[in-house]
Amino acid sequence: MRTVLRAALAIAAKDLRIETRNRTAMLTAGAFAILVQLVFVFARPPGEVSLSLLAPSVLWITFALAGLVVLNRAFLLEREQAAIEGILLAPVSRMALFWGKWLANAVLVVAVLTLAFPLWLLFFNVAPSTSLLGVYGLAVLAALGFTGAGTLFAAMTARTRYAELLLPVLLLPFLIPPIFAGASGSIRLLQERPFDEVAGWLRILVMYDVAFLATASLLFPFVVDE
């Protein structure tokens, strides 16, 4: 158990170290997150649809699309110079490889979210309140399960010739439950509704995280075995 944890942390640290050196994922996903928000601002008749009305939806769409950009990179990185084979040759369990890759992905998606969040507040005139912490918390919670399924699928699509095309098609249907739950919870939080109305959505997110992290970690060894 401890060796699995140590190996997973080493793999995550490796991925994050690569990221801090070239910043490709953060730069592309960060710029992408801003662009998605701008598209929403300009794709609406300015006087007629208020920004605050669109705000929760934009947050979740931005989150899902920017997350896909991060995930796409995770295994394409390993494909360069067949780096994945080095990891597979190392005496590291496949389970540890999954948790390591997942952790790095989750950290990066949360980082992109953290970057996009204040900009979203700014661009969409979201009134500052303590419930924003709740909205951010829901997004982080959604990111955990989202990257679970995403890590599993990205490992597969990276092995095909159409990785960038296949991952969104394969992954987005699986993101609808957490996005639905997250967006519905956020809307209620932003409307300052009582916590009871958010609890149900929160529960779905937690169940989704547990179910998909467990499934992905169990299936991942099949994806990478030779």
Binding site: M156, T157, F174, A216, F222
Partner: protein, 231 residues
């Protein structure tokens, strides 16, 4: 493991089962038109319900069978299980197509709109999209064993999504008619309607089996051709 003669047998048997299913479907239509009473509020359009829920059930059955065959494939690595998982998924796609086509035909007169973002209809669409991804991934892969493995992983993951699918039905406000057959302890449908309804479910089970058997045989044949080409 793969056997051309067995594949041909599966196709022949599948054809016979499909013919039985088609005959049952004709019987179901006759039953719906002549035997069942016309629903007082919805009128004739209600008769679509002898087809719509059975097709939804057949889609779910097909996708669950794909999930089970996928899990078994990961365990046993038998190419026949992959061929069956693919066959079942494809039949499921068509059953889902029947659901999303008949739904709006009923919805237009009864709800007043062609399309309603109603949970069960929405999630039928999501299931269809999940399996669209399944087939997209399959089409992007050449090597049969790897394709089977990856497809099986998606098939199992799709099975995990199903409860989330159903969960939402009960959690979200729904415009969809609540189930009267399964939901209550005592069926409240008139006996003629209930009989036709249950005949619908039986018919679609037979149709599913017939189509899946034929498609399985075709899948095995294709796999044999692929391995012959590779050799």
């Amino acid at each position: 493991m793969l056997d051309a003669a067995a594949a041909d047998r599966a196709i022949t048997r599948g054809r016979i089962v499909t013919l039985l299913g088609v005959a049952a479907l004709a019987g179901l239509y006759v039953m719906a038109v002549l035997y069942t009473p016309t629903e007082r509020f919805q009128g004739l359009v209600q008769k679509i319900f002898y087809v719509h829920p059975p097709a939804a059930y057949a889609m779910q059955l097909a996708f669950v069978m794909t999930g089970i065959a996928s899990a078994l494939y990961l365990w046993l690595r038998d190419a026949r299980l992959d061929a069956f998982a693919e066959a079942s998924a494809e039949v499921g796609m068509w059953m889902g197509a029947i659901v999303v086509i008949t739904g709006p035909i009923w919805g237009r007169p009864v709800w007043g709109t062609w399309w309603e973002w109603e949970p069960r209809l929405t999630f039928t669409v999501i299931e269809l999209l999940v399996f669209a991804g399944y087939f997209a991934l399959r089409s992007a892969m050449r090597e049969p064993a790897e394709r089977a493995k990856f497809a099986a992983v998606v098939g199992v993951t799709a099975l995990v999504l199903v409860p989330f699918n159903h969960l939402t039905v009960y959690l979200f406000a729904s415009q969809h008619p609540t189930p009267v057959v399964v939901g209550t302890k005592k069926p409240e449908l008139p006996p003629e309607m209930l009989r036709a309804f249950l005949t619908g479910f039986a018919t679609f089970t037979v149709l599913y089996l017939g189509f899946a058997m034929q498609r399985y045989g075709i899948g095995v044949r294709r796999l044999l051709e692929e391995t012959a080409d590779a050799a």
